[in-house]
């Protein structure tokens, strides 16, 4: 018997604000400008500050390149999971199922895979089956070339032949639980997110979409939520350098009628 259900009840799923921390050899890489930090290079202390400020989630991008990488990443994830009471994603150098498995058991809520998934798309299926789709974030770096959008690798330097929209659709059908889409044309410009393209992608997607690349001021976050209706927006330097403070950003979003926590 079909149970009785109270329709419609829209609820208040909040738009998420996600600071991204680059980590190398267990230390945050980009400079930070927080007055109240004892150790600006300690990712755990920085993460704790962000969680106190009202960040909804955190992303750690581990760019450690040494052969000790897996060990230092696991130590980082464990330290974060011990101290932080909000969800976090770890990305960088995850190439096989075993990498993801150790991170899950170290306390990561999600892992993000980028070039490894492009090179071996079946990895998405394997990870979704092994750990559930909610664990698998597929990060996509996109760049505009001759009127089309192409997936890029190696931090946007290496163009592939794959059109971004096709790849995202494939990633979703293989079991991605979420897409983190970085516009390399906008990244670092502080001129705002690529709202038009994000809107175009979001309209076809039935899993959450995180917008990344281009955040420079609070209005850019208002714009990306109003114009593309993405589920979350990610930024790094504007938060790290204190150019945007999360409580003030949330207040601005709230005043513009956007649901935030």
């Amino acid at each position: 018997m079909e149970p009785e259900i109270a329709y419609p009840f829209l609820g208040m799923l909040a738009k998420r604000i996600i600071p991204c921390l680059d980590v190398k050899d267990g230390r945050t890489v980009k400079g930070v400008n927080f007055v109240d930090l004892r150790d600006a290079g300690d990712p755990v202390e920085l993460a704790w500050q962000y969680s106190r400020q009202g960040a909804d989630e955190l992303v750690f991008l581990d760019i450690t390149a040494t052969h000790e990488r897996r060990k230092t990443t696991v130590e980082l994830v464990k330290a974060v999971a011990r101290q932080i009471n909000i969800p976090f994603t770890i990305g960088g150098g995850i190439n096989e199922l075993e990498d993801a498995d150790v991170l899950l058991h170290a306390g990561a809520d999600k892992i993000s895979i980028n070039s490894a998934a492009v090179r071996n798309p079946a990895l998405i299926d394997q990870m979704a089956q092994a750990f559930g789709i909610q664990f698998v974030v597929v990060a996509v770096d996109t760049r505009h070339v001759d009127g089309r959008n192409y997936v890029h690798l190696n931090g946007g330097r290496l163009k592939t032949d794959m059109e971004t929209e096709d790849w995202i659709r494939e990633a979703e059908s293989r079991g991605a639980g979420e897409i983190l889409l970085t516009s390399m044309d906008h990244d670092g410009t502080k001129n705002g997110f690529d709202c038009d393209f994000l809107q175009q992608i979001n309209a076809t997607l039935s899993i959450p979409l995180i917008a990344s690349g281009g955040a420079g001021n609070k209005q850019h976050f208002v714009d990306v939520f109003q114009r593309s209706n993405v589920d979350a927006a990610l930024a790094a330097s504007v938060f790290h350098y204190g150019e945007i403070r999360i409580p003030e950003l949330k207040e601005e979003l709230r005043q513009q009628g956007i649901e935030v926590r």
Binding site: A6, A14, N85
Partner: protein
């Protein structure tokens, strides 16, 4: 002391880390005989409800849970296990709370999983929500939900439809969200549960 049912359904590092931070003593329950050693029991769980139910049966704990008279808290899939049935894998569950676990995808046009912070409205004076505001955000990640019920729903949330964010039936409690990932409100809820006898 709080016992965590250890039946291999997902990672519990974040949960034990939260309990440690909060100074809540805990131990692992590996079999039915160990249930008696604890004042209250947490059933964690992520992933597939049908698979979790199979693991719980294999652990030999499934038949003992219904007869526990101490407080029991199911988290996420651990909450769903307490219901009678899940559409996930067409699975018969413990049937301790007479509710069903249903799929969002067949009923709403919103994105699935329901992932992120959503407002939780508690009702019916469930003690795990003591000193928590009526409309507090908690962190959710799930594709299946437990139907709303006036009697057993102790907190509700909306995602295209109204569903049970938390439930209570006698000494059996469940929360669909992850208190260990829900900031200070989640920590308060875990502390509230740790004071129940």
């Amino acid at each position: 002391m709080t016992g965590i049912v250890n039946y291999g359904a997902g990672n519990i590092f974040s949960l034990t880390a939260a309990l440690t931070r909060l100074g809540i003593a805990y131990g692992m329950v590996n079999n039915a005989a160990e249930l008696g050693a604890y004042d209250r029991i947490i059933i964690p769980g992520v992933g597939h409800a049908g698979a979790a139910m199979r693991k719980l049966r294999e652990s030999g704990l499934a038949d003992s849970i219904a007869s526990i008279t101490k407080p029991v808290l199911g988290i996420c899939v651990g909450m769903q296990l307490l219901t009678s049935y899940s559409e996930e894998g067409d699975s018969e569950l413990l049937g301790i709370v007479p509710l069903q676990t249903l799929h969002f995808e067949r009923r709403v046009t919103l994105k699935v999983p329901h992932m992120g912070w959503n407002k939780v409205y508690h009702q019916n004076n469930s003690p795990i929500f003591d000193n928590i505001e009526k409309d507090t955000y908690f962190y959710f990640v799930h594709s299946y939900f437990i139907e709303y019920n006036d009697t057993f729903t102790s907190a509700y949330t909306g995602y295209g439809l109204k569903f049970s964010a938390a439930m209570q039936d006698r000494n059996f409690y469940g929360v669909q969200f992850h208190p260990e990932k829900s900031g200070e409100a989640g920590e308060k809820l875990l502390l509230n549960f740790s004071k129940l006898y």
